[in-house]
C-alpha cells in the first residue's frame, strides 16, 4: 500500500490547523518542571548494585601488575571486573573506520588517560569508590603521542601496534577538474587553520542500569541513550548476543548533542551484572569522567585550505586538506564527522569543483565522538574565513562577495560537486533579511567611527547550509554501511476514540512528543491534550533511530502522518459500508468521516473506532478491525555512493546568514559580542517555538566553540581540562540576545515541507564570530587562524603586531 504523506500543512484533513505550525506549548514540560521526569540516575531496581571504574592516569603504559584481591574482599563489594573479563566475555568495540576498536577494559596496554583498567560493583557508589582505592596497578609508562603529525612519522609510537600505523584512513576525494580550476584562477588563496577539541557536554552525563540474565542469556540496558536501536546493535556485537536478546530502553535524558557516549561504561556494567549473578548494575558517569574519558570530545582538526577565485569574484574551486586527530580508537564513530562535510562541502555557493584530502590519525588522546552538527561547523569556519580573505583581497564587501556566489532559487534542486542534492532555498532573501535586521550599512558606519576612536571592532557576515535528515550513505566512505534511516511510529485509537502514539525514542529536549501530538491532533481533529505519546523499548518499538543529524522532526512527521493515513484508509473502508457507498467517496475532515455534500452522513473518529472494536456485526467481511497502524518512514531517493563518495545523502538543506559585531579588548584580548542578528530558512516550522529554542541554543554552543571551549592536552597527551573550571561552558553572561528573521522555503521532498533544523546555528555561528574577529583584526595586519579565539590567543596576536 502506498501512503501519500501531506506535503504541506494545508493538505492536512483540517479546515485550519490548530497545532501544527503554531507556537505549541510542550506537553513534556510540566513533569520536567516539577522534578517528576525520571532520568537514569533516578531509576532504582531491586537488588541494584553501583559501579565505579578505575581509570588509567597515563596516556600510554604497560600494565605490569594488577591486583584486585583487596578490593574484592572489601565489605559491600559484590563483583570486580578487569581486562581479563573483557577478553573472555566481549569483543573489541565496533568502530569507524572498522577495526580500530579496543576492549572496554584495557588488559595489557592503556592507550589514553581515562581508559578503564578495572571496575567494581558494590552496594553503593561510595563503597564502590572506596574499593577502587584498594586496587593495585603497576604501570610502566611508554612514550605517548599527542600530535597527529608526529603520529604519522615513521618513528612514532603506535597507538594500536597490530595496525602497523597510526593512520586510520587516508583518502583523496576529487570532484571535477580541480587542478585546471586552480591553474586557470585569477587568484588563489591558501591558509592554514586549527580547530581545537571541544565537545557536547550535555548537563546530564551518561548513565545506564544493566541487567544480564544468566539463564536466558539476555541483556537489558536502561540508559540515557540518544539512539537506542543503534546502541542495542553495538551491545549485541560486543557480547556476541543475538540481536533479539538485547533490549535497550532509553530514559528521558538531559541532552545529548551527539556526545552522550557511554558504550564502555555500559559494557563494563553489563559484565559486572553477569559476574554478580544477574543483579542490576547502575553506572553513572561523573562530570570529571565525562570530560576526560567520556563522549565529550570532538573535532580535533588541522586544516589547509585553498580557494580559486576568478577576477569577477566568482569562486571557481575549493581544496580542503584535513588532518583529523581521532584519539586512541575509532569507537566514537568520530570518523563520520570527518565524512559529513561531503553533504554540504561547498556550503551555499556555486563553487563548481572541489577536493577533500582527508587523513584520520590515531593518537594517545581520548577517542573522539560526534558533536552537534557532526563535521560541518569547523568546515564552514574555514570556508567562511577563506571567503573573507578573498573578499578582502579583492576589495569586495563580504556580504556582496557571498551574494555573487550564492546558489540561485531557480537552480534547486541543486547538486553540489561532492554529490549531495540541496532541496530548495532562497539564499539572497535570507542574506537581505539578515542585513536589514542588522542595519548593515549603519553598522559599518559605527565600525568606522569606532576604529577612528582606536577601538578594535569587527563585523562578520557568514552563511552556511545545515544538512538535514541524515542518511547512513553519507558515511560509506569511512566504512559505515547502509542507505536510509527508517523511523517508525504506531498510532492507535481506542474504543472511546482516545489516541496514543508509540515511538522508539525518549525525551531529549527537542519537543518531539509534542510534535507527534500536534500532528495527530490536527489530523484527527482532537485536542492536543487528548493525544498520548508512549515510548517503547527496542524489542517492542517499530524500526527507529531517534534524534540525530537534524532528522527526527522530519522523520517522525513522516512516520506519524503515514500511520494516520493508514488508519484513515481503514476507517474510510468501514464508514463506506455503514454509509452504503464506496470508500473513495468518504472524506475525513475536522475529525469526521462523511460524504461531501451530504451533511447527515457523518461519523466522528471515535464513532468509527467504537464501531470497529465493538460492532463486529456491522463490519465488512475480512476487514482489519483495529483502528491502529504503524508506518515506517525513510527518505526517498537516497543513492549508493560512487567511487568519489558522491551520493544523495542528507534530504534537506536549511540555510542561514548571521551578522555579528564584536569588539576586542586591546589590553586583555577578550572578544565581546556587541550585536548578533541572524536570518534562517528551514522550510516549514512545525513548532516555531521549538525551532527558536533550537536556534538560540545552538547559537550559544557556537559562541562557546568560537571563543571559550577547548580540551587542552599537554605535549605528552595528558589532559589538562578535567573540570568545568577548566572547560568553559558559556553562561548567561557570555551569550548575547539575538535578533532573528525567518524565511520559509518549504522543502519539496519532505512531509509538510519541513527541513532538518535541530543542529541549527552551530553551523554558522563559529564562522560568523570568527569572521567578525578577523574583520576586527584586519587593520592590525593579523588574523586569528585558531579556534577558540580565547583571550590569550587574541592578546598574543595583537601583541605580535606591536613588536
Amino acid at each position: 500500500m502506498t501512503v501519500e504523506i501531506p506535503k504541506s500543512i494545508e493538505e492536512l484533513p483540517t479546515s485550519e490547523a490548530r497545532w501544527v505550525g503554531k507556537r505549541t506549548r510542550r506537553k513534556e514540560d510540566a513533569a520536567l518542571l516539577t522534578g517528576r521526569t525520571r532520568f537514569i540516575e533516578d531509576l532504582v531496581l531491586p537488588g541494584m548494585l553501583h559501579c565505579a571504574i578505575l581509570r588509567s592516569p597515563f596516556p600510554h603504559a604497560r600494565i605490569a601488575k594488577l591486583d584486585t584481591s583487596e578490593a574484592s574482599a572489601q565489605a559491600g563489594v559484590v563483583a570486580v571486573v578487569t581486562g581479563e573479563d573483557a577478553l573472555r566475555w566481549s569483543q573489541p568495540a565496533a568502530s569507524a573506520p572498522e577495526g580500530w576498536g579496543t576492549h572496554c577494559i584495557a588488559s595489557e596496554l592503556v592507550r589514553f588517560v581515562g581508559e578503564p583498567v578495572a571496575a567494581v560493583a558494590a552496594t553503593s557508589r561510595y563503597v564502590a569508590e572506596d574499593a577502587l582505592e584498594r586496587i593495585i596497578v603497576d604501570y610502566e609508562p611508554l612514550e605517548a603521542v599527542g600530535d597527529p603529525f608526529a603520529a604519522m612519522e615513521a618513528e612514532s609510537p603506535l597507538v594500536i601496534a597490530e595496525k602497523g600505523t597510526n593512520v586510520m584512513m587516508q583518502r583523496l576525494f576529487t570532484w571535477g577538474e580541480v587542478d585546471q580550476a586552480f591553474a586557470d584562477a585569477a587568484h588563489v588563496f591558501t591558509e592554514k587553520f586549527r580547530w581545537n577539541r571541544l565537545g557536547a557536554n550535555p548537563t546530564e552525563t551518561f548513565g545506564a542500569v544493566c541487567e544480564w540474565d544468566p539463564m536466558n542469556l539476555e541483556l537489558t540496558v536502561h540508559g540515557s541513550i540518544q539512539a537506542p536501536s543503534f546502541f542495542a546493535l553495538g551491545r549485541a556485537a560486543t557480547f556476541g548476543l543475538p540481536s533479539n536478546k538485547v533490549n535497550v530502553k532509553s530514559q528521558a535524558h538531559g541532552g545529548s548533542f551527539g556526545g552522550k557516549g557511554g558504550t564502555r561504561g555500559t559494557d563494563i556494567a553489563c559484565m559486572l551484572s553477569r559476574k554478580a549473578g544477574g543483579r542490576p548494575v547502575k553506572w553513572i558517569e561523573d562530570r570529571m569522567e565525562y570530560l576526560t574519558s567520556g563522549g565529550s570530545q570532538a573535532w580535533d582538526r588541522h586544516y589547509e585550505v585553498s580557494l580559486a577565485v576568478a577576477g569577477d569574484g566568482q569562486v571557481t574551486g575549493l581544496r580542503v586538506k584535513l588532518v583529523d586527530d581521532q584519539g586512541a580508537t575509532g569507537e566514537g564513530y568520530a570518523a563520520i564527522s570527518a565524512a559529513k562535510p561531503l553533504a554540504a562541502f561547498t556550503g551555499p555557493y556555486t563553487i563548481p569543483v572541489a577536493e577533500y584530502d582527508l587523513t584520520l590519525v590515531a593518537t594517545n588522546k581520548l577517542p573522539a565522538f560526534p558533536y552537534r552538527g557532526f563535521g560541518p561547523p569547523p568546515h564552514f569556519f574555514v570556508l567562511e574565513q577563506m571567503m573573507d580573505i578573498a573578499a578582502r583581497s579583492l576589495e569586495i564587501d563580504p556580504a556582496e562577495f557571498r551574494r555573487r556566489n550564492f546558489i540561485q532559487p531557480d537552480q534547486f534542486p541543486f547538486t553540489i560537486p561532492s554529490g549531495n542534492e540541496y532541496d530548495s532555498g532562497n539564499y539572497e532573501e535570507v542574506l537581505d533579511q539578515a542585513l536589514s535586521l542588522a542595519g548593515y550599512q549603519e553598522l559599518r558606519r559605527e565600525q568606522a567611527e569606532a576604529r577612528e576612536a582606536g577601538r578594535i571592532v569587527g563585523i562578520g557576515v557568514a552563511s552556511a547550509v545545515e544538512p538535514g535528515v541524515f542518511d547512513w550513505n553519507a558515511y560509506r566512505s569511512v566504512g559505515v554501511p547502509g542507505i536510509g534511516v527508517p523511523e517508525g511510529a504506531t498510532v492507535s485509537i481506542d474504543i472511546l476514540g482516545m489516541i496514543t502514539v508509540r515511538v522508539g525514542f525518549s525525551l531529549e529536549g527537542q519537543g518531539q512528543y509534542t510534535l507527534a501530538s500536534q500532528l495527530v491532533a490536527d489530523y484527527f481533529g482532537t485536542d492536543i491534550d487528548a493525544v498520548r505519546v508512549v515510548q517503547l523499548d527496542t524489542q517492542s518499538a517499530p524500526p527507529s533511530f531517534g534524534p540525530g543529524g537534524s532528522r527526527l522532526g522530519v522523520a517522525i512527521t513522516g512516520a506519524v502522518l503515514g500511520a494516520c493515513e493508514r488508519i484513515r484508509e481503514k476507517m474510510c473502508a468501514v464508514t463506506a459500508v455503514l454509509m452504503q457507498t464506496e470508500p473513495d467517496q468518504i472524506k475525513l475532515r475536522d475529525g469526521k468521516f462523511g460524504i461531501p455534500g451530504v451533511p447527515e452522513a457523518s461519523m466522528t473518529v471515535a464513532e468509527v473506532a467504537g464501531t470497529m472494536l465493538a460492532r463486529s456485526d456491522l463490519l465488512p467481511p475480512g476487514v482489519d478491525p483495529r483502528p491502529e497502524a504503524t508506518h515506517v518512514w525513510t527518505a526517498a531517493g537516497r543513492t549508493e555512493p560512487d567511487e568519489q563518495g558522491r551520493a544523495k545523502s542528507y534530504l534537506t538543506a536549511a540555510q542561514a546568514v548571521h551578522v555579528v559585531m564584536v569588539e576586542i579588548d586591546r589590553d586583555t584580548g577578550f572578544v565581546e559580542i556587541l550585536k548578533y542578528c541572524l536570518a534562517d530558512d528551514c522550510g516549514t516550522r512545525l513548532n516555531p517555538m521549538v525551532v527558536q529554542g533550537q536556534t538560540e541554543g545552538s547559537v550559544a554552543q557556537g559562541i562557546g566553540a568560537a571563543l571559550f571551549e577547548e580540551y587542552v592536552y599537554d605535549a605528552d597527551a595528558q589532559p589538562l581540562t578535567a573540570t568545568f573550571m577548566d572547560y568553559l561552558i558559556p553562561t548567561i553572561n557570555e551569550i548575547p540576545p539575538t535578533e532573528k528573521a525567518e524565511v520559509v522555503t518549504p522543502s519539496p521532498f519532505t512531509p509538510l515541507g519541513a527541513k532538518g533544523c535541530g543542529e541549527g546555528a552551530i553551523h554558522t555561528t563559529p564562522a560568523a564570530v570568527m569572521c567578525a574577529v578577523n574583520d576586527a583584526l584586519a587593520p592590525l595586519g593579523t588574523m586569528a587562524r585558531e579556534v577558540p579565539a580565547a583571550p590569550n590567543r587574541v592578546w598574543n596576536l595583537i601583541r605580535a603586531t606591536q613588536s
Binding site: D29, G509, I732, P737
Partner: protein, 162 residues
C-alpha cells in the same frame, strides 16, 4: 563504614529524622534517602549550579554540602515549588510559556535560583538577573528564553501579589 550520624531537618515542609554517613552529600541524601530525585547533579564540583536548593532560605549547591551540615535546617527543593497539588508555581508556568527549558535537566536548579532572586527582588532588571543566573549552566536553551521567563514570572508574581 563510618558510624552513622542522626540528623533532623525539614524538607518542603515535612520533618525528617535520618541516619547518615558523615561523608554523604546533601544532594545524595535528598535523592537516595528521601527519594527527592528532582534535584539533579550536573558536575558535583560546584560549578554548574544544577543541584541548587534552598537551605534556610538561601540558595546553595547541594553537591558541595554534607547532609550532616544540614542538621536542623529547613530545605526547599523543586518538589516544594509547585505541582504537588496539580498546580504549577508562576515561575514554572513562565518557563512553559517562554520555552525556558528543553531537556529540563538543569531546570530545577534554575527554578530555585530564580525563586530566591524574586523573593528578594520582585522586579529585577537584566543585570540583576544575569548576576544571579551566571552561576547556573544550561546547555540547551542559550539562556535567552530563561531570561524572558524570569521577567514573565516576575510580572505574574507581581500581578498576583497586587
Amino acid at each position: 563504614m563510618t558510624a552513622l550520624v542522626q540528623i533532623q531537618l525539614t524538607v518542603n515542609g515535612t520533618s525528617h529524622e535520618a541516619h547518615v554517613e558523615p561523608r554523604t552529600t546533601l544532594a545524595d541524601f535528598l535523592r537516595s534517602q528521601l527519594a527527592l530525585t528532582g534535584t539533579h547533579l550536573g558536575c558535583e564540583h560546584g560549578v554548574c549550579g544544577i543541584c541548587t536548593i534552598l537551605v534556610d532560605g538561601r540558595a546553595v549547591r547541594s553537591c558541595l554540602m554534607l547532609a550532616v551540615q544540614a542538621d536542623g535546617s529547613e530545605i526547599m527543593t523543586v518538589e516544594g515549588l509547585g505541582g504537588a497539588d496539580g498546580k504549577l508555581h508562576p515561575i514554572q508556568e513562565a518557563f512553559i510559556e517562554e520555552h525556558g527549558l528543553q531537556c529540563g535537566f538543569c531546570t530545577p536548579g534554575f527554578l530555585i535560583a530564580i525563586y530566591e532572586l524574586l523573593k528578594d527582588n520582585p522586579s529585577p532588571d537584566d543585570a540583576e538577573i544575569l548576576d544571579v543566573l551566571g552561576g547556573q549552566i544550561c546547555r540547551c536553551t542559550g539562556y535567552q528564553s530563561i531570561l524572558r521567563a524570569v521577567h514573565s514570572a516576575a510580572a505574574k508574581l507581581g500581578a498576583a501579589g497586587a
